[in-house]
Protein backbone atom coordinates (compact mmCIF):
# COMPACT_ATOMS: atom_id res chain seq x y z
CA UNK A 1 0.00 0.00 0.00
CA UNK A 2 1.04 3.55 -0.45
CA UNK A 3 1.32 4.17 3.24
CA UNK A 4 4.23 3.60 5.55
CA UNK A 5 4.37 3.57 9.29
CA UNK A 6 6.18 6.52 10.78
CA UNK A 7 5.95 7.22 14.45
CA UNK A 8 2.37 7.09 15.57
CA UNK A 9 0.50 7.89 12.41
CA UNK A 10 0.78 7.08 8.75
CA UNK A 11 2.60 9.11 6.19
CA UNK A 12 1.39 9.09 2.64
CA UNK A 13 4.13 8.51 0.07
CA UNK A 14 4.29 10.83 -2.85
CA UNK A 15 6.32 11.09 -6.02
CA UNK A 16 9.23 13.39 -5.25
CA UNK A 17 9.76 14.10 -8.91
CA UNK A 18 6.18 15.19 -9.51
CA UNK A 19 6.54 17.35 -6.45
CA UNK A 20 9.54 19.11 -7.96
CA UNK A 21 7.73 19.20 -11.30
CA UNK A 22 10.55 17.56 -13.21
CA UNK A 23 9.34 17.17 -16.79
CA UNK A 24 11.97 14.67 -17.82
CA UNK A 25 14.57 12.89 -15.75
CA UNK A 26 18.01 13.58 -17.18
CA UNK A 27 20.88 11.11 -17.03
CA UNK A 28 23.39 13.92 -16.50
CA UNK A 29 21.71 14.99 -13.30
CA UNK A 30 23.57 12.55 -11.10
CA UNK A 31 22.74 14.39 -7.89
CA UNK A 32 19.03 13.85 -8.38
CA UNK A 33 19.54 10.30 -9.62
CA UNK A 34 21.70 9.55 -6.62
CA UNK A 35 18.70 9.88 -4.37
CA UNK A 36 17.02 6.99 -6.15
CA UNK A 37 19.76 4.42 -5.83
CA UNK A 38 20.74 2.52 -2.69
CA UNK A 39 24.24 2.81 -1.31
CA UNK A 40 25.03 -0.41 -3.14
CA UNK A 41 24.06 1.22 -6.39
CA UNK A 42 20.71 -0.53 -6.84
CA UNK A 43 17.70 1.31 -8.19
CA UNK A 44 15.22 1.93 -5.40
CA UNK A 45 11.90 0.24 -6.20
CA UNK A 46 8.76 2.23 -6.63
CA UNK A 47 7.11 0.68 -3.60
CA UNK A 48 9.88 2.13 -1.45
CA UNK A 49 10.49 5.54 -3.00
CA UNK A 50 6.85 6.23 -3.86
CA UNK A 51 7.77 7.46 -7.33
CA UNK A 52 4.96 7.54 -9.88
CA UNK A 53 5.02 5.13 -12.82
CA UNK A 54 5.97 7.75 -15.35
CA UNK A 55 8.90 9.08 -13.41
CA UNK A 56 10.09 5.65 -12.30
CA UNK A 57 10.30 4.61 -15.92
CA UNK A 58 12.31 7.71 -16.81
CA UNK A 59 14.46 7.14 -13.75
CA UNK A 60 15.44 3.61 -14.69
CA UNK A 61 16.55 4.67 -18.17
CA UNK A 62 18.37 7.69 -16.80
CA UNK A 63 20.17 5.65 -14.15
CA UNK A 64 21.18 3.02 -16.67
CA UNK A 65 22.51 5.69 -19.01
CA UNK A 66 24.41 7.35 -16.18
CA UNK A 67 25.99 3.99 -15.37
CA UNK A 68 27.37 3.67 -18.88
CA UNK A 69 29.09 7.01 -18.45
CA UNK A 70 30.45 6.06 -15.03
CA UNK A 71 28.44 8.81 -13.36
CA UNK A 72 26.79 6.19 -11.18
CA UNK A 73 28.18 2.81 -10.17
CA UNK A 74 26.80 -0.49 -11.45
CA UNK A 75 27.66 -1.94 -8.07
CA UNK A 76 29.47 -0.64 -5.09
CA UNK A 77 32.26 -2.82 -3.74
CA UNK A 78 32.18 -0.91 -0.52
CA UNK A 79 30.50 -3.68 1.46
CA UNK A 80 32.67 -6.52 0.34
Amino acid sequence: MAREREGKGFKKKYCKLCFEKVGFVDYKDEKRLGRFVTDRGKIVPRRVSGTCARHQKQLTTAIKRARVLALLPFTSDFYR
Binding site: K11, F19, K21, F24, D29, R65, L69, P73
Partner: protein, 118 residues
Protein backbone atom coordinates in the same frame (compact mmCIF):
# COMPACT_ATOMS: atom_id res chain seq x y z
CA UNK B 1 16.52 17.51 -38.26
CA UNK B 2 16.96 15.46 -35.15
CA UNK B 3 19.11 16.74 -32.34
CA UNK B 4 21.52 14.35 -30.71
CA UNK B 5 23.73 14.66 -27.74
CA UNK B 6 26.88 12.65 -27.35
CA UNK B 7 28.93 12.51 -24.21
CA UNK B 8 32.34 10.94 -24.38
CA UNK B 9 35.07 10.31 -21.86
CA UNK B 10 38.67 10.92 -22.81
CA UNK B 11 41.75 9.42 -21.20
CA UNK B 12 42.75 11.54 -18.17
CA UNK B 13 46.41 11.18 -19.14
CA UNK B 14 46.01 13.40 -22.20
CA UNK B 15 47.31 16.95 -21.89
CA UNK B 16 45.18 20.01 -22.52
CA UNK B 17 46.33 20.53 -26.10
CA UNK B 18 45.61 16.94 -27.05
CA UNK B 19 42.13 17.11 -25.51
CA UNK B 20 41.36 20.29 -27.45
CA UNK B 21 42.64 18.64 -30.58
CA UNK B 22 40.43 15.58 -30.11
CA UNK B 23 37.33 17.66 -29.43
CA UNK B 24 37.99 20.02 -32.34
CA UNK B 25 38.58 17.05 -34.57
CA UNK B 26 35.15 15.60 -33.75
CA UNK B 27 33.44 18.99 -34.16
CA UNK B 28 35.10 19.54 -37.53
CA UNK B 29 34.21 16.04 -38.62
CA UNK B 30 30.51 16.54 -37.79
CA UNK B 31 30.51 19.79 -39.74
CA UNK B 32 32.17 18.02 -42.65
CA UNK B 33 29.39 15.44 -42.70
CA UNK B 34 26.69 18.06 -43.07
CA UNK B 35 25.86 18.27 -39.38
CA UNK B 36 25.69 21.34 -37.23
CA UNK B 37 27.29 21.48 -33.79
CA UNK B 38 25.04 23.50 -31.50
CA UNK B 39 26.89 23.28 -28.24
CA UNK B 40 30.07 21.91 -26.73
CA UNK B 41 30.06 21.43 -22.98
CA UNK B 42 33.30 20.57 -21.29
CA UNK B 43 32.82 19.09 -17.88
CA UNK B 44 36.55 18.71 -17.39
CA UNK B 45 38.18 15.98 -15.38
CA UNK B 46 35.80 14.03 -13.19
CA UNK B 47 36.06 11.01 -10.97
CA UNK B 48 34.59 7.88 -12.51
CA UNK B 49 32.06 5.90 -10.49
CA UNK B 50 34.02 2.78 -11.33
CA UNK B 51 37.34 2.07 -12.98
CA UNK B 52 37.48 1.84 -16.74
CA UNK B 53 40.65 0.16 -17.90
CA UNK B 54 42.50 0.94 -14.64
CA UNK B 55 41.61 4.62 -14.89
CA UNK B 56 39.83 6.37 -12.05
CA UNK B 57 39.23 9.72 -13.74
CA UNK B 58 38.05 10.81 -17.14
CA UNK B 59 37.73 13.98 -19.14
CA UNK B 60 34.07 14.47 -20.03
CA UNK B 61 32.81 16.33 -23.06
CA UNK B 62 29.23 16.74 -24.21
CA UNK B 63 28.37 17.58 -27.79
CA UNK B 64 24.97 18.78 -28.88
CA UNK B 65 24.47 18.60 -32.61
CA UNK B 66 21.96 17.99 -35.34
CA UNK B 67 22.34 16.32 -38.65
CA UNK B 68 21.52 13.19 -40.62
CA UNK B 69 21.24 10.05 -38.50
CA UNK B 70 24.05 8.33 -40.35
CA UNK B 71 26.47 10.63 -38.52
CA UNK B 72 25.71 8.96 -35.21
CA UNK B 73 26.60 5.49 -36.35
CA UNK B 74 29.89 6.54 -37.90
CA UNK B 75 30.77 8.76 -34.94
CA UNK B 76 30.26 5.90 -32.51
CA UNK B 77 32.35 3.62 -34.68
CA UNK B 78 35.15 6.18 -34.68
CA UNK B 79 34.97 6.53 -30.92
CA UNK B 80 35.31 2.79 -30.50
CA UNK B 81 38.40 2.76 -32.70
CA UNK B 82 39.93 5.76 -30.95
CA UNK B 83 41.92 4.53 -27.99
CA UNK B 84 41.89 7.80 -26.10
CA UNK B 85 38.08 7.62 -25.86
CA UNK B 86 37.15 5.49 -22.85
CA UNK B 87 33.38 5.63 -23.25
CA UNK B 88 30.75 7.37 -25.28
CA UNK B 89 26.98 7.62 -25.14
CA UNK B 90 24.65 9.12 -27.72
CA UNK B 91 21.03 9.89 -26.93
CA UNK B 92 18.28 11.99 -28.44
CA UNK B 93 18.44 15.48 -27.07
CA UNK B 94 15.81 16.56 -24.57
CA UNK B 95 15.44 20.34 -24.20
CA UNK B 96 16.98 21.41 -20.88
CA UNK B 97 13.90 23.32 -19.77
CA UNK B 98 12.15 19.95 -19.48
CA UNK B 99 14.82 18.42 -17.30
CA UNK B 100 14.99 21.28 -14.84
CA UNK B 101 12.70 21.16 -11.80
CA UNK B 102 10.11 23.92 -11.74
CA UNK B 103 10.09 24.18 -7.97
CA UNK B 104 12.91 24.78 -5.56
CA UNK B 105 12.77 21.24 -4.30
CA UNK B 106 14.84 21.30 -1.15
CA UNK B 107 13.15 24.31 0.40
CA UNK B 108 9.71 22.93 -0.34
CA UNK B 109 10.57 19.46 0.87
CA UNK B 110 11.88 20.86 4.14
CA UNK B 111 8.71 22.88 4.59
CA UNK B 112 6.58 19.83 3.84
CA UNK B 113 8.58 17.75 6.32
CA UNK B 114 8.00 20.24 9.09
CA UNK B 115 4.33 20.60 8.31
CA UNK B 116 4.04 16.80 8.29
CA UNK B 117 5.73 16.42 11.65
CA UNK B 118 3.54 18.88 13.46
Amino acid sequence: MTKYETTFILDPGLDEAKVNEEVDHVVQWIKGQGGEVLEVQRWGKRRLAYEIGRRRDGIYTLLLYQGPGAIVKELERRFRLNESVLRSLTVLHVPPELTQPQVDAEALAAAAEEAGDE
